[in-house]
Amino acid sequence: MEDVILSVKNLSVFFGEEAILKNLSFEVKRGETAAIIGPNGAGKTVLFKSLIGSVPRHGEVSWAPGTKIGYVPQKLDLDRHLSLTLGDFLLLKVKLMKLDKSEVRRVLEQVHLLSAKLKIRLTYLSGGDFQRSLIAFALIGKPNVLLFDEPTSGIDLPGEEQIYQTVHKLQDQYRLTVIIISHDLNLVYRYADTVLCLNRKLFCVGNPEETLKPDVLDRLYGSAMMHHLHVHERA
């Protein structure tokens, strides 16, 4: 039997009367990279929030026993002049988990951030460094699942590729399961084992080459299809 780390059955999420997610069922295997794709407003971030239990949900979400989740949110709604430095931010979770302070250095190295950045305020970091900081925060305490909500903007493409490579390397080292919300189909083709197409409900589940056919993308994204076909050809 294959080692399933996440099993979702008939998951629905409602905001008031409106169904944001309708009857989703899927599984994620230990150590794989599952990419969630879909247009804006498809409910991708809500899916993550329901997986970590921060929005009310119907249906079944079960994580394998011993699962430790590291969550990388798309953004944080922070006050622009928040006094928290990167060092303060990472220490919060290190202290909370009663870990040694050397954990800060360990996660910094993993995401390739210089320790000189520790003294910089979180809100003053560049987009790329900020995202690395969020990944570093998620990696504190060695999680075995990384939920990675990729930002839609603020990061240039080469930077995004680097972050993918970083995460991919971590995955090989620690048998990390990565579930990623991605906006870059090109990277999904290269790094994902499984892709889930989401637009309120699941349109497809499977490996990217077989699953992401033009007609599926057409149904998923509608008029934006041409762009994605183009990406498909390149990949």
Partner: protein
């Protein structure tokens, strides 16, 4: 009455309440509740008004009203997912209006702007103890509160109970408001929480220094306000907040922008 000579204990009470205010303010700003925090103190007014009408200790009425307000905000946030600012804005402007109608006219000015002369010895001692308890709890919960306030989702995935921490925070917040009601009054107590913390963010280089500076600016504002109001025989509460506001404007010169 010469407060500076005769009433060391009430000065001490004010200073410790100020320290608690500055500290809780630093956390309130993290939650982006600048305006809400200021308005939150208004919810005490109907409670004070009813207590005065019933000839009870007004502070008890204020405490009950504030506790109800905190729990109400907490519940509404969970249910509706509307930003707290909006909820507090509507709810607490309404309570200011209703409270003003309920409170007897001769008590109204003191209730709104505070009156130190009313502070009894027992009240001052209770104030000091309560402020120390609040400061202790905030420091004890520091890391957990901070994660919860910057992101409920990060709190969840760090193994924290966000809802419980949020309730703790709101209760500590209204507890601090309550402590300051006697000498600052309903309209100004929220300001002593927010203004020093806002100034501190411009001076601070790290989170810990932010907490220390916020508390210090708050204490300084209260003590300087006290001295100035004594010297020139002007109202205490507005003087304290004016001092805090002056410190804030000076702090802008120290603001670093990335």
């Amino acid at each position: 009455m010469n407060v500076l000579d005769s009433n060391l204990i009430s000065i001490l009470a004010m200073a410790s309440v100020a320290a608690a205010s500055g500290l809780i303010g630093a956390f309130a700003l993290m939650r982006k509740m600048t305006l809400a925090a200021d308005a939150m103190s208004h919810v005490a007014l109907p409670g004070l008004g009813v207590a005065i009408l019933l000839k009870l200790n007004p502070i008890i009425g204020g405490a009950v009203a504030l506790a109800i307000g905190a729990v109400l905000v907490w519940l509404l946030e969970r249910k509706t997912m509307i930003a707290t600012e909006t909820i507090i804005g509507v709810l607490f402007s309404a309570s200011l209006a209703v409270g003003t109608l309920l409170t007897p006219e001769n008590e109204l000015i003191d209730t709104l702007f505070g009156d130190l002369a009313k502070l009894t010895f027992t009240q001052a001692i209770i104030g000091i103890v309560a402020a120390v308890v609040i400061i202790g709890l905030v420091l004890f919960l520091k890391s957990r509160l901070t994660i919860a306030l910057i992101s409920p989702d990060l709190a969840k995935t760090s193994g924290l109970d966000y809802n419980r921490l949020n309730l703790w925070f709101l209760l500590l917040f209204v507890g601090t408001v309550l402590l300051g009601l006697n000498f600052l009054g309903i309209l100004l107590m929220g300001s002593l929480i927010i203004v020093p913390a806002a100034a501190s963010k411009n001076f601070a280089r790290s989170f810990n220094s932010d907490l220390i500076i916020a508390a210090s600016v708050s204490i300084f504002s209260v003590l300087a306000g006290l001295a100035i109001s004594e010297r020139f025989s002007i109202a205490l509460g507005p003087t304290i907040i004016s001092v805090a506001a002056a410190v804030f404007f000076i702090s802008i010169l120290f603001r670093r922008s990335g």
